[in-house]
């Protein structure tokens, strides 16, 4: 096994053609990802934060092969996986799994828990005997805090937190090394969120998992993440270890995000704010995507798009003026 990153993207771009009238001459394209380079090391909890429309979910889905990238490369343990044919990819799928946002939609309502958990093993590990399969399902149920008696029951009999445990069990049943978790707690109640976060922490300790954790909630990132990528309009704005980004944010967008978190001590909402909106992703501005909202923007920002560069403290930021 190599010591390099477990997942790497190089210049990853995803563009969606927008539906048009078939006679229309324009072919508008939505740039969901605009050249994303990230490398995730084994054992990390790599968090991707940003607001809706920033491309964080697209990044996760492209890595999992749910979307075809328009340009760029995705590598798993140094091996290129985008555009790979299904037979070569099959053994890799075992090592990469995903947990979805909405536990009410991510389990097939007509399948009982056992069927849901057995399917990945049957498909990806056909060498397992029925007895081994049963044992594997029971082990993973136990590891995720699910009761063995749940196996014959249907998803609608469970609460949101229980369903998310089952969805995590499904992602773990093939013993993967890498998990994409797309907002796994945002559909859950406050007291349940802590349970699921703890479960993810415990599983990482027991199984040495690597997470790509997609979220909009910065307080979760601060607690849970090892490294953080802040995304805006399909591009990474700042990339740094979690402690650094919270103690010493470099990009003005990161600062805006941190300021916006409601705090128990109060004080975040006292000053009025001017409305800021995401620019149109179909016709992105030529310079820095954040320039229209940025308090420090100058002509340079509206003209030239800043590249992600390393700053003296080790943070990477895509800003002309960060230092």
């Amino acid at each position: 096994m190599t010591t390099g990153p477990i997942i790497e993207t190089r210049g990853l771009e995803v563009r969606f053609p927008l539906p048009t009238h078939f006679l229309s001459r324009q072919k508008p394209v939505l740039h969901a990802l605009n050249g994303v380079d990230i490398a995730i090391s084994p054992g990390e909890t790599f968090c991707v934060v940003g607001e809706s429309g920033c491309g964080k979910t697209t990044l996760g889905r492209a890595i999992m092969g749910l979307l075809e990238p328009s340009a760029g490369e995705i590598l798993f343990r140094g091996q290129r996986i985008d555009g790979m044919d299904e037979t070569t990819r099959k053994p890799i799928r075992r090592d990469m799994q995903m947990v979805f946002q909405n536990p009410y939609a991510s389990l097939n309502p007509r399948r009982n828990v056992y069927e849901t958990l057995a399917e990945p093993v049957r498909h990806l590990m056909p060498e397992k005997s029925p007895a081994e399969l049963r044992q594997q399902v029971e082990e993973v149920l136990d590891a995720t805090g699910c009761d063995p008696s749940w196996q014959r029951r249907l998803p609608h009999e469970f609460s949101g937190g229980q369903r998310q445990r089952i969805a995590i069990a499904r992602a773990l049943v093939t013993n993967p090394a890498f998990i994409v978790a797309d907002e796994p707690i945002s559909a859950l109640d406050v007291s349940i969120q802590a349970q699921i976060l703890n479960l993810l922490t415990d599983l990482q300790g027991e199984r040495g998992l690597t997470y790509l954790f997609i979220t909009h909630d910065l307080s979760v990132v601060e607690h849970f993440g090892t490294r953080v990528a802040v995304m805006y309009l399909g591009a990474v704005m700042e990339l740094a270890p979690a402690e650094t980004i919270f103690d010493n944010p470099k990009h003005p967008y990161t600062r805006l995000l941190l300021d916006a978190i409601p705090k128990l001590e109060g004080g975040s909402f006292d000053k009025p704010r001017t409305p800021g909106e995401l620019p149109d992703p179909v016709n992105p501005p030529p310079g820095c995507p954040f320039a229209p909202r940025c308090p420090m923007a100058e002509d340079l920002c509206r003209r030239d798009r800043p590249r992600l560069r390393e700053l003296p403290n080790g943070t990477h930021a895509a800003c002309h003026f960060a230092e």
């Binding site: 799928r93 946002q101 991510s106 007509r110 498909h123 990806l124 609608h156």
Partner: protein, 302 residues
């Protein structure tokens, strides 16, 4: 999702559903058990006597004890022919719906899941099919068939022909329903979860998506059986359906129609009442099913 117990409770608390269900049950039992219950076998020419023709119902002056609802022009008991005829009507209705469902569900599933030009092509085909009236297409197909083969062959294959013609003409209703629910289901995360595992599209379509689209299929199936029976009755009334010696409810109504003005109203009236009762029961049950199975209309249950 509704449990079987909840379903039964809803059924038993709704008088309309109980009524419609009872009518349907009686009619189906009558049709299935016709060979054992019917006082007479209308297909057996040996049992027919032309002297018994056009007898009024038994309680009318001139009625005969053997023929409760009277007889038709060939001396067949109206009650017995209704029992057999209901069976033929139901057979054609259910058979046609099975053909519709197999065609429509398959094509709708493929159109909804694959999308793109396959979807456009199949749905335009459905539009064309729907813009030609079912009855018109059936009339043309059956008229050609009748002209091409002689009456005996026609009589032998009439049921199969009717099932195929009505089945093929009405598939777009199933295809559209299934396609629209596939479009809704396809976006759900459980489908993504299956794709992450690398399941082939065939398995995702049939194993994951199809079972979640069956509720609306069940609802329209019920209503489509009624629709198919109506179409069959119309075709038979026009003389293009079941031949007179193996009558369905439609051909019975037609065979009596000529005699209404000579006073033999019972030959037409009784099959017509049974037809109306059958269609009404099926439609009421279909509406009731739609209300029960639609979670948006249900509150605080199950």
């Amino acid at each position: 999702m509704i449990s079987f117990k909840g379903f039964l409770r809803r059924f038993l608390s709704d008088p309309v559903a109980i009524g419609a269900g009872l009518v349907l049950l009686v009619l189906v039992l009558m049709a299935v058990l016709a060979p054992f219950l019917a006082p007479q076998d209308p297909y057996d020419l040996m049992q027919l006597d032309i002297m018994d023709s056009e007898l009024p119902p038994s309680w009318k002056p001139g009625g005969d004890e053997r023929f409760w609802l009277g007889t038709d022009a060939q001396g067949r008991g109206v009650f017995s022919t209704i029992m057999y005829g209901t069976g033929i009507s139901l057979l054609i209705g259910i058979g046609a719906v099975i053909v519709q469902a197999v065609l429509g569900v398959t094509l709708g599933l493929i159109a909804g899941y694959k999308g793109g030009w396959i979807d456009s092509f199949l749905m335009r085909l459905a539009d064309i099919q729907l813009s030609l009236s079912t009855l018109m297409m059936a009339i043309i197909a059956l008229a050609l068939f009748q002209a091409a083969f002689d009456a005996n062959i026609y009589a032998d294959y009439a049921i199969v022909m009717l099932i195929m013609v009505i089945g093929i003409a009405e598939w777009p209703k199933f295809a559209r329903t299934v396609r629209s629910s596939v479009l809704g289901e396809r976006k759900k995360e459980y489908v993504d979860a299956a794709r992450v595992i690398g399941l082939p599209p065939r398995k995702i379509m049939w194993g994951h998506i199809l079972p979640n689209t069956l509720t609306p299929v069940l609802v329209i199936s019920t209503i489509q059986v009624a629709e198919a029976i109506m179409i069959e009755a119309s075709l038979s009334f026009l003389g293009l359906g079941m031949p007179v010696d193996r009558p369905s409810l439609g051909s019975l109504i037609r065979s009596g129609f000529e005699f209404i003005f000579s006073g033999s109203w019972w030959i037409t009236l009784y099959p017509a009442i049974v037809l109306v009762a059958l269609i009404l029961a099926l439609n009421l049950l279909g509406d009731w099913l739609r209300d029960v199975l639609n979670p948006k209309l249900r509150r605080g249950e199950d």
